[in-house]
Every structure is written in structure tokens, then in C-alpha cells.
């Protein structure tokens, strides 16, 4: 089994966090120091009710991951050894600060750093923010994502966001202030100029996707000045995986806002199988590998060559706003079953052909030993 070496990057100088020196250095450093990430979508409860929320979260929702499940997943993740970090998202994970702190202690034991996505309802003052962030920082919080845009501001005053961001910055925690807008002329830079240029704080503007509460919004590529063809579309994680476990144990292979709306990409459920099993299914999926490393153009070409009738039914890139939207149109529909059947045959052929090549490379005996081991 592959062993991730993220732990080797940790240092323990005196009087500093053992995780110091291991921080992302830029916004899209996912394929830099990050490799695979285990994301816990901890709860659907949220003090907000944003008009574009991809999961329809709001204060009356009560779904939450059991604490015991979260702790068990951390232990399994540590044993598996493939994750460079863990992420907490939701809903609002910091509606349960004590539980998050307990889980963070378990993460610290295993030297796994973590991130949190939050709307900062807990930061009414800097003192409040410090009470939440200080113990988490000690346990390995290495980045915090704070939401900030007009939709969020209807529920959480910008002052709370600024409190949380400044306290995080002063604690040395890299902070992404992320705003979601429905126009490309709007940015976090103009919405929260007081955070521009502050040490450790990056401002990131993203744009509303037509999913969840925003499903019926009239969102097209031209809204955002885009002109994306099939050749430009691939899964956002090109090499590694974001393994996202929901409160009910369902596992998705990505952290896209479309994931919950795309049933055809579900990998499994941690309540009925081990994380290790789920990892094998994900990392060993030729379909996911193609979507990540080759992109949707290559996927479409494979379908065109193997099932022309199915190819004609596939959605057009121009009708979608980005790769996740395209993936949703395929794997959130009845096309999902046919496409997977087509890819299964493709995968079987490729695997079969590779056996002879492997025998030439490592010898027949070694190949047989390998096959006996994995069966």
C-alpha cells in the first residue's frame, strides 16, 4: 500500500506547533503540498440560509455526523496513510466547537493537520474568535476558509468575518476569505477591502453554480464571461483525491458543490465498509482517473469509439458552466449507468492487455504473486 510521507514534513522545534512549516503557499496549492484530503461534511445545520447554498443548509436542519464515526474515520485515515490533511465543512462545523476540538485532538495525535470551512458566526468579538481558534491552532489547524459575500452577510455581519480573519492571521493561521458571487464584476477584494493585503489572508472570489438552492437560477457560461469547451474541462483535482464523507457516511470522490446532487459518483458508505475499501475503489477507478488526468474530452472520445449511440446523448460542454456542472449532467442522470457500463468494458480490456506488459517488466512469477495478493 502506498504510504504518504506528509508526516515527514512535520517539524517540532521548541515552543512551536509541531505542524509549523507545513502550510499551503498559494491559493491553488492543492497539487503542491496537499495530496489526498479526507473531508468530513460534518453537519447540514447552519445559522445561515444563503440563497445559493449548494446543500440547502439552514438553522432547522439537524443532520450531523456522529462524533464516534468522525473519530473512527480519523483512526482509519491515519492507518491508511494516504491523506495529507483533513477538512471540516458543512453546513457550519463550528456549531459543534467542542466536538471539532475533540476530533482535532485525535488528529494531533496522528500528526494530521486540518482545515475548517466556516461562516464565522462564532466571532462576534476578537475575544470570542480567539477562544475558538487558539486550541484548534494548537492541535494542527493549518488553514481556515471563511465565507464572505452579500448572501452570507444577510446573516453574519462582516465584522464577524473580519474578527475571525484578523485573529487567525495573528495566530499565524493562513486564511482564505472566500466569497461567492453571481456576477464576475463582483469580488471579495471590493466587498471586504479592509482584509486586502493583510498578512496570512488571501481573498478568493468564486461564482455561483446552478446547484442546490441556486439550481433554478439562470446561470450560463456567458454570465461569467466564459467560453469553455470540452478540451478545457477536467476534474478539479487532477492527480489526488478529496475523499468527502457526509454526515450519513456516504462518500463522494470530490468536494465540488455538485457532489451531493450527483448520485452516480458515490463511492460507498463508511457505515458499511472500511475507509481502506473505499480508498481502493476510488484510487483504482479508471473512470475517475480519466476524468482527472485526461479530462472530459478524452472521456467523450472513449465513449464515441465504444458506444456511439451513448455518445450522441452526452451533454454538450457549452450547456454547462464548468466541469462539475458537466459531471452532474452525466452522473446525476440515467446516462450514468450506461456510461459506467461502457467504461467497465474499456477498463477490462486495458487491464487485460496490461498483464502481458507487466510480465515483461517484472516477470511472470512476480505478476502472479501480485495478482494472488489482490484477489
Amino acid at each position: 500500500m502506498k504510504q504518504h510521507d506528509a508526516n515527514n514534513k512535520f517539524t517540532q522545534p521548541n515552543n512551536h506547533s509541531p505542524l509549523e512549516g507545513w502550510v499551503p503557499t498559494e491559493v491553488h496549492d492543492w497539487e503542491g503540498k496537499e495530496s489526498n484530503v479526507l473531508v468530513l461534511n460534518y453537519t447540514m445545520s447552519c445559522p445561515l440560509q444563503c440563497d445559493f447554498c449548494c446543500y440547502g443548509c439552514h438553522p432547522k436542519r439537524k443532520e450531523k455526523m456522529p462524533l464516534e464515526l468522525a473519530l473512527n474515520l480519523i483512526k482509519q485515515a491515519a492507518e491508511l496513510g494516504v491523506f495529507s490533511s483533513v477538512g471540516f465543512t458543512g453546513g457550519e462545523p463550528l456549531l459543534y466547537p467542542k466536538e471539532i476540538e475533540i476530533i482535532s485532538k485525535e488528529l494531533f495525535v496522528h500528526k494530521i493537520p486540518f482545515t475548517i470551512a466556516t461562516a464565522a458566526h462564532w466571532a462576534k468579538t476578537k475575544a470570542h474568535a480567539s477562544r475558538i481558534l487558539t486550541p484548534l491552532k494548537s492541535n494542527g489547524l493549518y488553514r481556515i476558509n471563511i465565507s464572505c459575500d452579500p448572501s452570507h452577510q444577510k446573516f453574519i455581519p462582516k465584522e464577524s468575518v473580519v474578527n475571525a480573519a484578523i485573529v487567525a492571521s495573528n495566530l499565524g493561521i493562513p486564511t482564505y476569505v472566500v466569497g461567492t458571487f453571481d456576477s464576475s464584476s463582483q469580488t471579495v477584494d471590493s466587498f471586504a477591502p479592509e482584509l486586502k493585503g493583510v498578512r496570512n489572508i488571501s481573498l478568493i472570489s468564486k461564482y455561483t453554480a446552478a446547484v442546490g438552492r441556486a439550481k433554478n437560477m439562470d446561470i450560463t457560461q456567458s454570465n461569467y464571461g466564459l467560453s469553455l469547451g470540452l478540451e478545457e474541462l477536467s476534474c478539479y483535482r487532477r492527480i489526488h483525491h478529496d475523499v468527502v464523507v457526509w454526515w450519513d457516511g456516504t462518500v463522494y470522490p470530490c468536494c465540488s458543490t455538485f457532489n451531493r446532487d450527483t448520485s452516480g459518483i458515490v463511492v460507498g458508505n463508511v457505515n458499511s465498509e472500511s475507509l481502506r475499501n473505499i480508498w481502493y475503489k476510488l484510487d483504482g477507478s479508471m473512470l475517475i482517473r480519466i476524468m482527472k488526468r485526461k479530462g472530459f474530452y478524452e472521456l467523450y472520445e472513449i465513449i464515441k469509439n465504444h458506444d456511439p449511440e451513448l455518445y450522441m446523448k452526452l451533454p454538450k460542454a457549452e450547456e454547462c458552466v464548468g466541469p462539475c456542472s458537466l459531471c452532474n449532467k452525466i452522473f446525476g442522470s440515467e446516462l450514468s449507468i450506461s456510461l459506467k457500463q461502457c467504461l467497465e468494458k474499456y477498463e477490462q480490456t486495458k487491464v487485460d492487455k496490461s498483464i502481458d506488459v507487466l510480465c515483461n517488466l517484472v516477470g511472470r512469477k512476480e505478476v502472479m504473486r501480485f495478482l494472488e495478493e489482490i484477489m
Binding site: 497539487e31 461567492t180 453554480a209 478539479y236 465540488s256 456542472s325 477490462q348 502472479m368
Partner: protein, 73 residues
Amino acid sequence: MANDLNNLRSRLVASPVARARFLADTLDLLSRNGLDVEDPDVLKSLDLDLDLNDGKKFVDGLSASTVVITITK
């Protein structure tokens, strides 16, 4: 021995679980046997989309894929 390999091969091709394990662990098999897993010719010969190493190629392509996605992580 040929029959044994063919038997294993048939079982591999027929089992989605075994194929997933195969695809997930092939790079380990290669490196355990002293092969250079960064050698593009080796990876190309296998034709299993195993290339993990041309990171720059992948990262450069990232911006177009991520601009409209609101990642919740």
C-alpha cells in the same frame, strides 16, 4: 504455470474490486521491482493512465477547471 496466470487474469478482469486494487497498486508493484515509476515510457507501455508525475501539466490546466466551482473544502 500458464494456466495459473490465465486463471488469475480471468478472475482479475471479471472482478471490479480486484481491478480497482490492481489499478491502485500497480505503481507499487513497479517500484518494488526496481522500475522507475517516473519513466514515461514505462507508464505509457502499460496504458493505464498511471502518470502521476507531470504535475506542472496538470496544475497549469487547473485554472480553467476551477473558476466557476465553489469548492466547499
